[in-house]
């Protein structure tokens, strides 16, 4: 542990909020409270929200605030223990067996030197403080979710050949979900929960300014206003905060004030773009 623990200064939600703001991440009060509790109680935090509202960014900013290493586990369909926790280095094991000629005892092969650490083991065995981001857990299947339960409740994992490994420092865990499926209640029970909403127009302009210091305030406000309008329409895919930032950056780079020409930065569905153009949604912004 470093001597001056940055976590020690995060004694209140407001302190968390201020610290996050220094990382150019503007959290609203509810999120600050959730993050504060996650740090204070040492419990995992489950973040849900539309795509592009900054779920993953929260974890990154939090790692910056607490001076921790960010370890990210990107979930995908079919993810299993061997891609999430550990695997054995089979080619090296085979070589070792053949090099020994007379045969090798099994214990010899399943030693730590042949162990490949995947993100979860990495997080558990880390000596420095860690923010563990389990990203898009809804993409993993139920079986993997069940496996995570064990990890999230005890912060220990079992490798059959090696035994149980306990976390040296309890990682701060952020779990994100896009809600493509409902997560299991048991998992939700073990986590603090926060739903990240789209920011208000003013806050979104502030976010753009915080993230893009070079972009004029006028552009930030204009893009925030345009995005607010787009979200109000019944689109297939509403732009997220990530798109707002990209849009502002695009406008700044083009040195152009025509929103319509750069509409493709914010909207990615052809029907949406056509509709916004034909209905004149962005007129007067």
């Amino acid at each position: 542990m470093p001597e001056s623990d940055p976590k020690a200064t995060l004694t209140s939600p407001d302190a968390v909020r201020a610290a996050l703001a220094k990382q150019h991440y503007l959290a609203d009060e509810a999120l600050a409270v959730a993050v504060f509790l996650a740090l204070d109680l040492g419990e995992p935090l489950l973040l849900e929200g539309e795509a592009g509202v900054g779920k993953t960014e929260t974890a990154k900013a939090l790692a910056g605030v607490t001076g921790s290493r960010l370890i990210r586990l990107q979930c995908h369909e079919g993810i299993d223990v061997h891609s999430a926790l550990y695997d054995w280095d089979y080619p090296r094991q085979l070589l070792a067996v053949r090099a020994a000629e007379g045969g090798v005892a099994e214990e010899e092969l399943f030693r730590r030197e042949f162990l490949l650490r995947r993100p979860l083991l990495e997080a558990i065995e880390s000596d420095e403080p860690v923010v563990l981001l389990i990203d898009e857990i809804d993409r993993a299947d139920d079986e993997f979710e069940a496996f995570l339960l064990e990890l999230l409740s005890d912060f220990q994992v079992t490798i059959p050949e090696l035994g149980t490994i306990e976390a040296r420092t309890r990682p701060t865990v952020i779990v994100t979900s896009n809600r493509t499926r409902e997560l299991h209640d048991a998992l939700k029970r073990r986590c603090l929960y926060h739903w990240i909403d789209y920011p208000t127009r003013e806050r979104e302009a502030e976010i753009v300014e915080a993230r893009l210091p070079g972009v004029a305030a006028a552009i930030a406000e204009r893009v925030a206003a345009a995005v607010e309008r787009l979200r109000g329409r019944d689109l297939y895919k509403a732009p997220g905060v990530g798109e707002t930032i990209a849009w502002a950056r695009a406008l700044g780079a083009l040195d152009d004030d025509d929103l319509d020409r750069t509409l493709g930065v914010a909207l990615k569905v052809r029907e949406d773009i056509e509709r916004v153009r034909s209905e004149g949604v962005l007129e007067g912004v």
Partner: protein, 404 residues
């Protein structure tokens, strides 16, 4: 569960060659008496809805011989272990056992030989003009193969209350069959594939001083593909919507990744309502949740809501089944646009239209004309047979654009 499918009864009909206890009983009068008693218990169990075959009866007889006869509880537990095959059966067994073990005077004398009752399928003998009052506690089951067979092709709109109740069991069986897809998860396999299993190969090589003689492989597994049912509950669909919602209920209960929506002037998600153990309660909840029963239909608007609000939940790989007659009061252009989008996001899009079953039907309503080019399969969905056809199609996989 209380599932007594027709196929099972049918198989037992042809079981004359079986070493059934009845036919062996000739020379062993004591054994035969015990068998008859046991058969009575089995028929008691069946009448309560448990699935017990002749094989279980024989096993029960052997189990009974193996335990201490002086220990009545041991006998009960031995019978329970052999005659029950699921957790749901346990309660049925306890009730059946209590009735069976009660003094004979308490029970009405069976009309036919209990062995015959146990071995033969029950035959439906409908009494003409019989008023049918469903007993709320009892589970209705098809009485015989022939009754099920008659029901299969009957149009849902002509169902009586009794038939509806019987159809539920069959529907449950149909609903259990659905689309599957290959998973990225693998399992160990001895058969050669393109995916080696280094872990198992290494372990096997340890037996040969590290020479990987025995190569091991992994094979992909499969898992249920998400299924989305969109059930039209508008006025024109009234004769069918109850049965189709029942089908949706059975699907939601049987499958892990299944979403159900009711479609009228607006879209209502009813997945949560349809979940739960009690199907009647589930259907009642769903009925209450839908605000616009028997109203008009605006399929385009409703599908738009499906696309936008529930797009994520549905995901990309789902099979979407729309159960509707295609009478649409909305803008056909909107319907065309939304169904095109839905078809692009879905793995396959199936449309079930009960009207398709009637001879000479042409899909000429504006809604159907707009929708059909984007539909991969177009089926009837007016009877159990057509739902069976759907299940078969879902199981086998649908070729893209097959129905166009």
């Amino acid at each position: 569960m209380s599932d007594a499918p027709a196929g099972r009864a049918g198989r037992e009909t042809g079981a004359e060659g079986d070493p059934s206890p009845a036919s062996r009983g000739e020379g062993h009068s004591r054994g035969a008496a015990a068998t008859i008693r046991l058969a009575a218990l089995v028929s008691e169990l069946r009448s309560r809805g448990a699935r017990v075959g002749t094989g279980e009866l024989i096993a029960a007889q052997r189990a009974l011989a193996a335990v201490d006869p002086a220990e009545p509880d041991a006998a009960r537990l031995a019978l329970r272990a052999t005659l029950c095959s699921s957790r749901a059966d346990l309660a049925l067994f306890d009730a059946a056992f209590a009735a069976w073990a009660a003094p004979a005077g308490h029970r009405p004398e069976p009309l036919i030989d209990p062995v015959a009752t146990a071995v033969l399928p029950r035959v439906a003998m409908p009494v003409p003009g019989e008023a049918f009052a469903p007993d709320p506690g009892a589970e209705l089951r098809p009485a015989a193969w022939s009754e099920v067979e008659l029901l299969r092709d009957k149009d849902f709109s002509e169902y009586s209350e009794r038939e509806r109740a019987i159809a539920r069991t069959i529907m449950r069986r149909i609903a259990a069959r659905g689309p599957r897809r290959l998973s990225r998860r693998t399992r160990a396999s001895r058969r050669r594939s393109h995916r080696p299993d280094p872990r198992a190969t290494l372990r096997a090589s340890l037996r040969h001083a590290g020479e990987p003689f025995e190569r091991r492989w992994r094979a992909p597994t499969d898992r249920p593909r998400p299924l989305v049912l969109v059930c039209d509950v508008s006025g024109s669909m009234e004769p069918y919507s109850r049965m189709l919602l029942q089908y949706a209920q059975a699907c939601v209960a049987a499958r892990r990744r299944c979403e159900a929506f009711a479609l009228g002037t607006r879209l209502t998600r009813v997945t949560g309502e349809l979940r739960g153990r009690d199907p009647d309660l589930a259907l009642r909840r769903a009925t209450e949740a839908v605000a616009d029963w028997s109203g008009g239909t605006r399929i385009g608007d409703a599908l738009g809501e499906l696309n936008r609000v529930h797009g994520r939940r549905i995901g990309r790989g789902a099979v979407i089944v729309i159960l509707s007659d295609g009478w649409d009061r909305g803008d056909p252009e909107l319907l065309r646009r939304e169904i095109a989008r839905l078809g692009r996001c879905a793995h396959r899009l199936v449309w079930l239209n009960p009207l398709k079953a009637s001879p000479g039907y042409e899909p000429l309503t504006r809604g159907m004309v707009a929708a059909l080019p984007h539909v991969d399969a177009f089926l009837a969905g007016n009877s159990l047979a057509s739902l069976e056809e759907l299940a078969g199609l879902l199981e086998a996989g649908i070729d893209e654009g097959a129905g166009r």
